[in-house]
């Protein structure tokens, strides 16, 4: 089933330059670098939810940022439908934003505080469908908001008068407005309360089933990954240390880090 593979990451390495200390400058030490992602291979098939776990600093968010072209690639390549994405091409940005959309962790800082819900969504819809008139844009917006379960009476509000759950729904609606092929979810429920978290997780699962939407789901909580995903990749210090079906990984973890991770999940007593 090779044709099903949407996104393929091959031997990807990303480096960040570290701050040089005064000592380094005097000694003439060359650039210090930190390997955020070190030789990662990953592939994403149409319609699947791939879970990516790891602790903070393991390179999960860096990977997402690299896919959408924010981080520079040091080595390796990313292929979309078998074709390598040329991140150096200036025109690639529109293509990237059309195919991939990101939902960020913190719904409080990922929305523009001075724009209403209406303005936020209109901007995205207009950018990708400039031929649409006002009415069509409005209709598209309403259908999006219905899809994510957002009350359409609130569209002239600004983020400050919305709750965290409502903001995250707008974040998801904004990403879906483009009709992307892949939704990259960077810890979408970490900043939310438990009861709201369940609502958003259900919503994402519904979207995956209804639209056959492909998702890369980053989280650091294993129980959420277990609920959402079929396949799981465990990241540790920039490398993928274990990859497989969730049942295999949860029942029979092979890598010591995965074992430790599973042992340390607090469990409910029943």
């Amino acid at each position: 089933m090779k044709s099903n593979i949407l996104l393929q990451i091959k031997n990807l390495t990303v480096e960040f330059s570290k701050d040089k200390s005064l000592f380094d400058i005097f000694k003439g030490n060359s650039k210090k670098t930190l390997k955020a992602i070190n030789g990662v291979d990953l592939s994403l098939s149409k319609g699947e939810i791939l879970g990516l776990v790891g602790e903070s600093g393991s390179g999960k968010s860096s990977l997402i940022k690299t896919i959408v072209g924010i981080n520079k690639i040091k080595d390796g390549k990313i292929l979309y439908l078998g074709k390598e994405i040329d991140y150096k091409n200036r025109k690639i940005k529109k293509f990237l934003s059309k195919k991939f959309q990101v939902v960020f962790q913190d719904p409080y800082s990922s929305l523009n505080p001075s724009m209403t819900v209406f303005a936020t969504l209109k901007e995205v819809i207009k950018f990708h469908n400039s031929e649409l008139d006002y009415k069509a844009v409005y209709e598209k917006m309403i259908s999006l908001l219905t899809m994510v379960g957002f009350n359409k009476d609130l569209i002239y509000r600004k983020p400050k008068s919305l709750s965290g759950g409502q903001r995250q729904r707008i974040g998801i609606a904004r990403a879906l407005a483009v009709e992307p092929e892949i939704l990259l979810l960077d810890e979408p429920v970490t900043a939310l309360d438990v009861s709201i978290q369940a609502q958003i997780l259900n919503l994402l699962k519904d979207l995956n089933e209804k639209l056959n939407l492909t998702m890369l789901f980053v989280a650091h909580e294993l129980s959420i990954i277990e609920f959402m995903c079929e396949k799981v990749a465990v990241m540790y210090l920039g490398e993928i240390v274990e990859f497989g079906n969730k049942n295999e990984i949860f029942r029979n973890p092979k890598h010591p880090y995965t074992k430790k991770l599973i042992e340390s999940i607090p469990k409910l007593p029943f």
Binding site: G165, Q166, S195, I196, A198, L201, P266, L268, F270
Partner: protein, 332 residues
């Protein structure tokens, strides 16, 4: 667990706290009554904005007044009401009797002073330590909380330490004068899962060894389930249920607790969907007599609004605010 009345170390009676924000009044704690027994670990769970931290900070009167305002109630410790104590007496209590650990270890240290000097800063001054002795004591403390090679680490600055290590140092700071009560306000929320497990076991180890009482505040039901003897559930400023851990999970007697338990994904359960609670938490601006959860509750009807709810004991040591706990369907 000893539940007799004379083992009570702290008792909160009918506490109400409000805040004045932009001319609006928000009631953060409403008629809260609870007891803490000696050597007990009490968990407090609830969503953000439910008043957990306010309750914790009220216990050592740490809230700035204004904007905070203690409307009613008392907090009795050693036959003294903490809310009416003088600043001098309060300082003594905060130093020796009741200590607190905060959520974010990065922001609970002064970045321009060494970690070691902050850990020993408030050592009981009457003992009059010399600088050398204080350092010796500080290194011993850091050793106790599991910091490797504390001799060299002692003179480092907070930015050189990781979050988990700083939280360990914060624990060292809290236990330096052997307090009777430790208030831990989301001590592991800012940390990774593997570090969280380490910190929790460290806290519990110290608690057992010193026979301390501890209040552990968390929004994670699983964390409190693993660590606490008794759990209190808060919603919109009210304590809605309190019970022994076992009872709370086997027979929850308040719909909000049921909702919380159901909305957590569980490992190896093959759930298709999570049962979420509809609606969102709203802040409370006036005293209400009915249950705060009534708008989101699936079992509620008109009666719930008319009922003047009281915190009642449905089983031994199991209290709930729900007037109709018999309606709840909970299967496990």
């Amino acid at each position: 667990m000893n539940m007799s009345a004379n083992s009570k170390i702290l008792s909160i009676n009918n506490l109400s706290v409000s805040f004045d924000v932009d001319k609006n009044k928000i009631i953060a704690n409403q008629n809260i009554s609870l007891n803490l027994n000696e050597g007990e670990v009490l968990g407090i769970v609830g969503e953000s904005g439910s008043g957990k931290t306010v309750l914790c900070k009220s216990i050592i009167k740490l809230l700035p007044t204004p904007p905070a305002k203690y409307l009613s109630g008392e907090i009795m410790y050693n036959d003294k009401n903490i809310l009416t104590l003088s600043d001098e007496a309060l300082r003594e209590i905060r130093k020796k009797e009741i200590a607190m650990i905060f959520q974010n270890p990065m922001s609970s240290f002064n970045p321009v002073r060494t970690v070691g000097s902050q850990v020993v800063e408030n050592l009981d001054l009457k003992k009059k330590f010399s600088k050398k002795e204080a350092k010796f004591f500080g290194i011993d403390l850091l050793n106790k909380v599991g910091i490797h090679s504390p001799e060299t680490r002692y003179d480092e600055y907070p930015h050189q330490w990781s979050g988990g290590m700083l939280q360990r140092a914060a624990i060292a700071m809290a236990i330096r004068n052997n307090p009777k009560i430790l208030l831990a306000d989301e001590p592991t929320t800012a940390l990774d899962v593997t570090i969280q497990a380490q910190i929790l076991s460290l806290l519990l180890g110290i608690q057992k060894k010193n026979n301390m009482s501890m209040i552990l505040v968390s929004h994670d039901l699983a964390v409190v389930a693993e660590t606490c003897d008794r759990i209190g559930v808060m919603y919109a400023g009210k304590l809605v249920e309190i019970a022994n851990t076992q009872d709370l999970f086997k027979r929850p007697q308040h719909p909000y607790t049921v909702g919380l338990i159901n909305s957590i994904p569980r490992i190896n359960s093959n759930q298709k969907r999570l049962k979420s609670i509809a609606g969102t938490l709203k802040s409370v601006s006036s005293h209400t007599n009915f249950c705060p959860f009534v708008e989101r509750c699936e079992y509620s009807n008109q009666d719930c609004y008319n009922k003047n709810v009281l915190f009642k004991e449905v089983q031994k040591n199991h209290f709930t605010l729900c007037p109709y706990p018999e309606r709840i369907i909970f299967n496990n």
